[in-house]
């Protein structure tokens, strides 16, 4: 859980309005999944949204993090997604 917290904190440090949800479906601490919601994603192509998150986690990828399946949403997209 400490790892989740540090990943969350790191993302919020770089994307200050981010809402972050992290899971570890394989239970190995290395292959994580993250959902990140931020107004700063509005108007940005998906690749840019993903780069914003990935570059926040550079140090984590140098140490324990091996893979991250990322889903990014604007607040509106997230609201619509939750309804589905």
């Amino acid at each position: 859980m400490n790892q989740f917290l540090s990943i969350k904190e790191q993302i919020i440090k770089c994307i200050d309005d981010a809402e972050v949800h992290i899971s570890d479906p394989r239970n190995d601490g290395k292959h994580l999944e993250a959902i990140v919601i931020s107004k700063q994603f509005e108007g940005a192509p998906l690749i840019k949204q993903h780069r914003m998150v990935m570059s926040a986690l550079k140090e984590q990828f140098k140490s324990s993090l091996h893979a991250l399946i990322l889903k990014t949403y604007t607040p509106l997209e997230w609201q619509q997604c939750k309804k589905c």
Binding site: L46, I47, H50, R51, M54, A67, K71
Partner: protein, 103 residues
């Protein structure tokens, strides 16, 4: 490293669709690489792959070149498109197919 970076530059220029992955087309070696291969096969396009498990130097260099920490990585027309999760999302939206038509 420099030599590898030059090689990558050449490869993505010469090959319109190229996937840097773990394993081969026939035997992908990780779940995300399997998914990426399946997506490209589904798009019915010719594509090249590079197996980063063959060379640690390549594995490090492609991450440096793309400024992207994970594999697989897809390049189309010399442009970095993303990893498996991005490929899947773009494919589901129909955007990947559109992109690949422009090759």
């Amino acid at each position: 490293m420099q030599e590898m970076l030059e090689q990558i530059k050449e490869d993505i220029t010469k090959n319109p669709i190229i996937l840097y992955m773990k394993g081969t087309k026939e035997k992908p070696a990780c779940g995300f690489s399997v998914t990426s291969i399946e997506i490209l096969k589904h798009c019915d396009v010719e594509f090249e792959v590079r197996n980063v498990l063959e060379s640690d130097a390549l594995r490090q260099a492609i991450k440096e070149f793309s400024d992207w920490p994970t594999l697989p990585q897809l390049y189309v027309n010399g442009e970095f498109i993303g990893g498996c999760d991005l490929m899947l999302e773009l494919f589901q939206k129909g955007e990947l197919q559109e992109l690949l038509k422009k090759v």
